[in-house]
Symmetry: D2
Subunit: 337 residues, 4 copies
């Protein structure tokens, strides 16, 4: 039995809490922190025995073996460092921080503390995406050559969220950059990105873009082409494919039903999933399961702080490429450049 504490009972914190309570029989959520009452009430109604507004009280709780950091991005690093200092394992929503330097400092603190840290790149756990990775690793497509990722959300988040999100590349693209790097099995070397405001001019006025086209060159010769868009009229559109010397493997979107209707106008099928809780229920469940498994078996985390750092470097390089209209080497984003 693993004792868990959750910091932040907002949107993602609630999803995690529900999965932990419903689907994981061998964990106990013993403590939860939220600054405001609604989140605390949610935690109480889901049976969390100790609910507070004080993060330190959760981190320091004697029955808490591991801390889930689900707070807003700007306090992630503080919470991760505090948990590490208390010797607790950490599961952290991405990104650890919007500053590369701060991320490095936090990761150093985690390493010094010797606690395990898992970054929440849940898309790696999607069954269809994981099957693509497995096909590559099993050599079924031969030597990998290229990766294509399309990632379109049903609708943009509120402008207020966008203002503090770190921008499209760090907020949304980072998932796909992690996936590209995960599938490529190598580090990114160079990034070229074009961005645009095609969905909502208000996003542009907030200083961000809503659509991006990114080409990433990896050290092993693999190239990834990624499209991100904040809006898709037909629901979540998150597909990827990997092409190699012996074949190609791809994952398409799950549909709500397998029902197909044929009539005089043609063929008609069901909608794609348009609510991220539906689209990623399975990967969220598997992500938490993977974290707890790694804890229980004492093996390395399936997604590490280093993974988070590298995805972030790609995002920052994409950001700079878009701004400067040229391909940017990933090394350029490190301190001093």
């Amino acid at each position: 039995m693993v004792g868990l504490g959750i910091l932040g009972i907002g949107r993602i914190g609630r999803i995690h809490l529900q999965h932990l309570v419903r689907d994981l029989d061998d964990v106990a959520v013993v403590a939860a922190m939220n600054p405001s009452e609604p989140g605390r009430d949610f935690a109480r109604r889901h049976g969390v025995p100790f609910v507070t507004g004080d993060a330190a009280a959760v981190i320091g709780h004697p029955d808490v073996d591991a801390v889930l950091v689900c707070t807003p991005t700007h306090v992630h690093a503080d919470h991760v460092e505090a948990a590490a200092a208390a010797g607790k394992a950490v599961f952290c929503e991405k990104p650890i921080d919007l500053s590369l330097e701060r991320v490095r400092r936090t990761l150093a603190a985690v390493e010094a503390a010797g606690v395990p840290l898992m970054l929440a790149f849940n898309q790696r756990m999607d069954p269809s995406f994981a099957a693509v990775k497995a096909a590559i690793d099993d050599g079924r497509i031969g030597t990998l050559r290229s990766i294509h990722i399309i990632s379109r959300d049903p609708a943009p988040p509120p402008i207020a969220y966008i203002r503090t999100s770190g921008g499209l590349f760090l907020d949304m693209g980072i998932h796909d950059f992690d996936m590209a790097r995960h599938l490529a099995g190598a580090e990114a070397v160079e990034v070229y990105a074009r961005g645009a405001v095609l969905v909502d001019p208000a996003i542009g006025e907030a200083g961000d873009i809503d659509t991006a086209y990114v080409t990433i060159g990896f050290a092993n010769g693999v190239t990834a082409m990624v499209e991100n868009c904040r809006q898709s009229a037909y629901g979540y559109d998150q597909r990827l494919e990997a092409f190699g010397s012996a074949g190609m493997v791809r994952a398409d979107n799950p549909l709500k039903t397998t029902t197909l209707l044929s009539d005089a106008r043609g063929l008609h099928g069901g909608r794609q999933l348009d609510f991220f809780v539906d689209r990623y229920a399975e990967s969220n469940r598997r992500e938490l399961r993977a974290f707890v498994d790694a804890l229980q078996r004492g093996v390395p985390m399936p997604v590490t702080g280093h993974d988070g750092l590298e995805a972030m470097r790609i995002a920052l390089a994409a950001e700079r490429s878009h701004r400067e209209g040229r391909p940017v080497r990933v090394a350029e984003v490190d301190a001093g450049h």
Copy 2:
């Protein structure tokens, strides 16, 4: 908040209990009965406050508004009648009994008691199958002409189960006969069935068949063709289609992933689901939700005792057709024939 009592914490009882605890926030499972300790232990571990070996104690429990009958078939009728006599709403696994006369008696008792009764034909709640029904009802395929149902289980149940199951038509086919009747929107008039032992000779030695081909003529001119088989090497295969004057609508099997691999030998996709908990998780959840909704809103149950009775009459006609090698009118199975 609806108070529920469960009779029988075996295979299907456990599945229902887990869905009720995890997924339905507005019900409380207040009492559970199981004759043996393992089922009772399961109920306790899932937070049921009152756990007993005595069905009457569950039925009579003051906080129990509705009773779920998940016991073996031969005690279904007794439990339904006892719950009805106590004025409790009833949800009953199919069939109510293997004897048509007893089913009629039980339904009469339920009607006399004036309590709602829902039969557990969960496949009606499958999202893809429900979308087929909706397409028919919305007139999208015009006047319905025919229905095709293929229903193949991954593997046959133990011979011991088969001996008391009532036979392939009553145990397995009944789901598809209900579905055919549900889609046809009419009563069955005539049934022709061919049965065979193709999977396991031991099933034949137990007096049953493992494969059947059934043609059903409905009163509105619709014809259904149904195949049932106890074994499928590739997992659950449960598909259906409806054909009408303006189109055709069909539901295929869900796959574990959307991943497709192309190589020099062709195209390769994932396996079908081979565990009924996976295949029917969603329809089981929706079935319980529908029962509770009907209770709360005081509207008729979506699947009634009459539905159970009619599906059973089709199964009995199929049984006789197979035995006598001729088409059998459904009316022939009623008392006296």
Copy 3:
């Protein structure tokens, strides 16, 4: 180089002539017969050097090695017998005759003459259907258990055609009965058929049905379920599947394009093919190629007169089953019953 003569330049004769001229480099169509001028004109415009209204002149032409019988059904047998008597190989559209006795007499004449005869069950040559047969023969689905065939035409033929067609079972179903027998790899033993008039009452007034549901039991324990319908709002619908102990293989309809559109209402694909020249262009080509190959290599024909006879016996048994409302043994349709 094989010299061919064609009897009948109507709908199917024209299709064959075009394929022969366009696609088969090693044949020469040296003679053609049609009773009326338009067909003769068509033949001349496609480069046939000898065009006549006299069948005997084509059959007796010294450069004609093989005769294609594409005339109306009621003269098939006469033309086949005349060609056989002249020692010419024969390709004959199905059926040879509507009378079983006459078919037997004609086949005896062909056998006595020692000439090769191919029956035009072109659907066997459809690439997707042939791949199903190959999968069965290669043991990829283990021991065959059942076959399902759905065969729906875009629209019924004119009532005038229906009156002389021999009825739904002999005119349309016969293709599917041949396919079922071909896939089953055994002879049919018993047939149960339900027929209905669902498409057009005028078809019923002409003494025929437009929809049928047929169950065929084969000698090796395989069962086939077949649906035929004269009308499909969404174009040709001709699908089949074979189920065995180790797997299942199926062929779906080809679509006009691979284009799929996703929008807020769901997924939309292209129409099915609705013109038999499109739907069966490839199988018609392959059928003629197979006939010429068998001639050139001196090997047995891929579809024989015996195949035509057996498919006809199934059709006649289906006809009687529909009329008498009971399963009919195929042997019952032979002379004397």
Copy 4:
């Protein structure tokens, strides 16, 4: 009846000749030129009455209304100019020349002569790709945002061909650049390309690349991402999709059959087409039909010399981008830069 002359009876010339003879009833191929005997023999066997080794004799033939230029690239411009000077309509395989200046000169000559010229971008005529274009034009996906094209050939051409091909961008990518521009409905402004030698080092030694990733920005804000690769283990892989504010439409690869097999390992489908004659038979036929239709009806050609020029400018910009490692404005490739 349109009289046609063909220059060059090599690979593509033979395909065109066969389609013209087989599928177009209202054209007569009256003259053909090939420098060597095998091509001339092929033309004779397909019924061309006048066959020669002299291009001028074909161009000047009094019954030749239009000339198909199917010779090697380095003589395209000469042949187009000669045909134009003789007042003949021209159909020319792409590209007109590898030099932008020469192409411009040739187009000027064609314009001065006032003859119609069609460029052979046959992929526009592919039924599935054409359906994507139609969906865009019909507004079914709203305002177009992006285009993705994947174009992989089964196997690279011989090294000797590659040496004179003009390189991957001009030889292979040009089809996809034309398609992107056709779908975008705007002119390309900026191009970023990464190229690699992943298939065969000999291609690199010949000074070319075999794989490329190209991002194209169009004047109307649309972005296209294109992958080209000279080798695909699973046959032709040519897919495209268009994404807009109201939906997404895509065209997948056609398969040899619709047959799908399910077994204990999963789902298995047929191979993709691996011979360009199969893959593009339909689009080649439709291309020739479109040329002849435009001639007969006196309307503008569906693909013009200007289209060829613009696709070429994109290819040259991609080439320079790859060489210089930076995004290149298309205007940079014009004379003087």
